[in-house]
């Protein structure tokens, strides 16, 4: 059940991100629902699930949109892993911390993407891109995290309640 829902959510995230999120851009910048989902799942579960979810989300995004497969697979896998590591012991109902983590993750992913892909094409003015693309997306993602995290929190609570009884079998 859980893994089926993960599958649905990866597909749904890609579809919503590429279609509906076009309509809610601010100054040409849109939030990244896929990244926010990865961070939410990594925070709620553990680093393994964050990394695996990130791997598949990155693979789907890369293969369908990027010029080559690899950069988002790498970034999303590792961001899922590290976000899972950071938040081992905190109250899940506290959503300020996940917001901060989402902001940090967005900044890290975008800056790494800039360094890996854009910088090498000759765009050396990093400060401009941080101000124009990365920071607005960071703020936007932190706000989106507020909604998405609570949604995942609710679904996760329901799923864990259900799984509690199944575990006795093993």
């Amino acid at each position: 059940m859980r893994y089926f829902l993960y599958f649905i959510s990866v597909i749904l995230n890609i579809v919503l991100q590429s279609t509906l999120f076009e309509h809610i851009t601010l100054a040409g910048i849109k939030p990244n629902l896929i990244l926010v989902s990865i961070v939410s799942i990594a925070c709620l579960r553990d680093e393994t699930e964050g990394a695996v979810y990130g791997f598949f989300a990155g693979f789907l995004q890369d293969s369908f949109f990027s010029g080559y497969i690899g950069s988002y697979v790498f970034l999303y896998t590792f961001i899922g892993y590290f976000c899972g590591l950071l938040l081992k012991s905190f109250y899940r109902e506290n959503f300020i911390l996940p917001m901060g983590i989402a902001a940090a993750a967005t900044f890290a992913v975008n800056f790494a993407y800039y360094a890996m892909n854009v910088l090498l094409r000759g765009y050396a003015n990093a400060v401009y891109f941080i101000g124009r693309i990365i920071l607005p997306e960071t703020v936007y993602n932190a706000l989106l995290m507020l909604i998405v995290y609570n949604l995942y929190l609710y679904i996760n609570k329901y799923l864990e309640e259900e799984e509690k009884y199944k575990r006795k079998v093993f």
């Binding site: 597909i11 890609i14 579809v15 919503l16 991100q17 590429s18 279609t19 509906l20 999120f21 076009e22 309509h23 040409g28 910048i29 849109k30 990244n32 896929i34 393994t48 791997f55 789907l60 995004q61 890369d62 293969s63 369908f64 949109f65 990027s66 010029g67 080559y68 497969i69 690899g70 950069s71 697979v73 790498f74 896998t77 590792f78 892993y81 975008n110 993407y113 800039y114 892909n117 854009v118 094409r121 765009y123 003015n125 401009y128 891109f129 124009r132 693309i133 997306e137």
Partner: protein
């Protein structure tokens, strides 16, 4: 789970190797792989549905707002039609004359009109760094890689990758794309690419220093292009700068197409690269 924790480093290295290998294998591929086509079958219908749903809501939301605007616009357009009709009859005369003269000169006018296929934009790139989008027609509808994509105003881009039921289009304002362009007035040639540090516009690079290109010049695709037919409108020159090396100039270009509100596009379903190759072969003989 315990096994995973023991092999963490190995797995990390594996992911890195996987990413590098995948990047090396898939960069500049000509055709999407089996995996992508499978994703296409799942994702494209969902994207179509989502886009049309969003459009429907937007349509309904704008319904009442539009009425007043449409009334004024209608009367303006009626006036314009009268003017255009007068112009059109004059054009018709000029066209006939032009045909006569070109047939006298024995110039071939094979690029004057081309067959096109209409397509709808169903999705845009999920990130903020690129300006790619996906249209709902693919190789099943006779499209191929490197075909030119137009809108009513001018050139939008070219097909970068052609799946079975979708195509990935890279637009002229994307900085991974470059087109051979020329200014109509002075026939100066340069490369038009997107400009990431000035989002939503492009620039024309490597213009000759003696070129007399100025603000307001119209830029079209040049006859040197191996992909695009010549004469497709790209945009207007906004400003001309001299490069830091002092040997060439570059111009900022305002594209004619409104990429923010683009919904439908036309694809020229003839491959011009082939034509040029056969032309060259003929010339060689």
């Amino acid at each position: 789970m315990k096994r995973f924790n023991d092999n963490k480093k190995t797995l990390g290295v594996f992911v890195i190797i996987f990413c590098v290998a995948a990047a090396a294998l898939t960069v500049d591929r000509a055709k999407p792989t089996f995996i992508e086509n499978t994703f296409g079958f799942i994702i494209v219908p969902l994207q179509k549905f989502s886009t049309s749903a969003a459009d429907w809501f937007e349509d309904k939301a704008n319904y009442f707002k539009d009425i007043e605007r449409l009334k004024t616009e209608n009367s303006e357009l009626k006036e314009q039609i009268l003017l255009q009709n007068a112009k059109l009859s004059q054009m018709e005369y000029l066209k006939n004359e032009n045909n006569k003269l070109t047939s006298l000169l024995q110039m071939d006018n094979k690029y004057t009109d081309f067959s096109t296929v209409g397509a709808k934009i169903i999705a845009k790139d999920p990130g903020n760094w690129y300006n790619n989008f996906i249209i709902d027609k693919g190789s099943d509808d006779g499209l191929m890689q490197n075909m030119a994509v137009l809108s009513g105003e001018g050139l939008v881009g070219r097909i970068k990758e052609c799946g079975k039921n979708y195509s990935k289009v890279v637009s002229v304002i994307d900085d991974t794309n470059s087109i051979s362009g020329q200014s109509i007035r002075t026939e100066d040639i340069g490369y038009v690419t997107g400009d990431l540090s000035n989002m939503g516009s492009c620039k024309m690079e490597y213009i000759n220093l003696d070129a007399e290109i100025i603000e307001g010049d119209e830029i079209v695709t040049s006859n040197l292009s191996t992909i695009f037919p010549p004469g497709l409108k790209i945009g207007y020159v906004k400003k001309v700068h001299t490069d830091t090396n002092g040997l060439t100039k570059y111009a900022q270009i305002e594209p004619v197409v409104d990429f923010q509100h683009l919904e439908n596009v036309l694809v020229i379903n003839e491959n011009f690269s082939k034509d040029y190759e056969s032309d060259l072969a003929q010339q060689a003989q």
